[in-house]
């Protein structure tokens, strides 16, 4: 296969786009398509200050790299959950993130250690809350809270995460399987900051297949952490991804259409009867962040 742009040997063939590209032109294509998604979904403007949630994995490091290549003011946030069962996952992912940041001298990396700040690792917290089987929901609460807290404290108005098309299609699949209307209303490339004390949340990679973000870091020689969080083993999201990947194999473009047509249908009014992205918010009396809870927010309740 040959690169469509220059005719050199291709390094990737994207059947869903009927497009193959070489090692020089594929990264350019990723950068251009990210810029296109940012414009299409009106994610942010050149003057915005962006905080990228980085985990040391391929998607978040690729996203940070691409946003810097596009000239945005983008700094990183690494949240250390203290996941050191299974041989130091948090330590290694943190080191990988730091190494990347050191190659980008104009950027800043904020590191928050959950055990240091709140006195407990994710595993210890899961044990106390009797959720050792699946700490991911606690993890989600912590990450969302801390991302927003640091964004507000450090003056960022946009929070960017590395969610890719495979992630979004798997979330959509799960939301549709259970008809989670509230989640479906909020799912999308942008979650506006409608409320005091909230940063706008964006997913600039939502139209890239996971295979494409992986190819980007491999071609660019970005060192990323290949191993998974030990708690990801057996996650339902992986099963959903595998199902969707089999469908994609039989019919290229399935995932992209599933997601993009959902967004289009939503724009045309699907789910719009109570179309408010966020429900009524109050201020948490302990941490001051917006919450839907009557008293303390979900995050603060974790530590009480």
């Amino acid at each position: 296969m040959r690169c469509r742009t220059c005719g050199a040997p291709a390094i990737i063939n994207m059947r869903h786009h009927k497009l193959s590209l070489c090692a020089a032109h594929f990264p350019d294509w990723v950068v251009k398509h990210t810029a296109k998604a940012i414009r299409k979904y009106r994610m942010f403007k050149p003057e915005d200050r962006i905080l990228v949630a980085v985990s040391g994995g391929k998607d978040s490091l690729a996203l940070w790299d691409v946003l810097l290549a596009l000239g945005y003011h983008a700094d990183g946030l690494y949240i250390d959950l203290g996941i050191d069962v299974g041989g130091g996952y948090s330590t290694r992912s943190r080191e990988t993130t730091i190494t990347f940041q050191e190659s980008q001298p104009r950027t800043k990396l904020h590191i928050i250690s959950i055990p240091n700040v709140y006195g407990e690792s994710l595993a210890a917290l899961a044990k106390r809350k009797r959720r050792t089987d699946r700490p991911c929901s606690l993890c989600g609460v912590i990450k969302r809270h801390e991302m927003n807290r640091i964004a507000m404290a450090e003056g960022y108005n946009v929070l960017a995460t590395g969610h890719n098309l495979d992630d979004e299609a798997a979330i959509l699949f799960a939301n549709v399987l259970h008809w989670q209307i509230g989640y479906l209303r909020r799912q999308g490339p942008v979650l506006p900051a409608d409320g005091e004390g909230l940063a706008r949340k964006v997913k600039p990679f939502c139209r890239f297949y996971e295979r494409e973000t992986a190819a980007y870091v491999l071609v660019k020689g970005i060192d990323y952490i290949y191993e998974e969080c030990p708690f990801a083993v057996g996650a339902t999201s992986i099963r959903h991804k595998e199902t969707l990947t089999r469908m994609e194999h039989a019919s290229p473009g399935t995932k992209l259409q599933f997601y993009v047509n959902f967004l289009r249908a939503k724009k045309e009014g699907l789910l719009s009867s109570h179309d408010r992205a966020r429900p009524d918010l109050r201020m948490c009396p302990q941490c001051g962040q917006p919450t839907t809870a009557e008293t303390l927010c979900r995050f603060c309740r974790l530590w009480n």
Binding site: M1, A10, I11, I12, N13, S20, A23, G57, K58, D59, C136, D166, Y209, E210, R211, A214, A215, L218, V219, Y226, E228, C229, F231, A232, V233, A235, S237, I238, K241, E242, T245, R246, E248, H249
Partner: protein, 62 residues
Amino acid sequence: MEVTYRDRTWTFDEALTVEQMLKRIDVLPESVLVVRDGTLVTEDQKLKPGDRVKVVGVISGG
């Protein structure tokens, strides 16, 4: 050729395309990238008997 994927290794004596090799190890091309001598290769590429091939999984969880 020697093919590694996750913790497993396969050896094949004959020339195969990337697509044929992935079929042999029962992996969908949509879920991986294939690297030969540090370079990504597309499904139609011929792999030769002496090649060292690394199959990189791209589907992550969590």
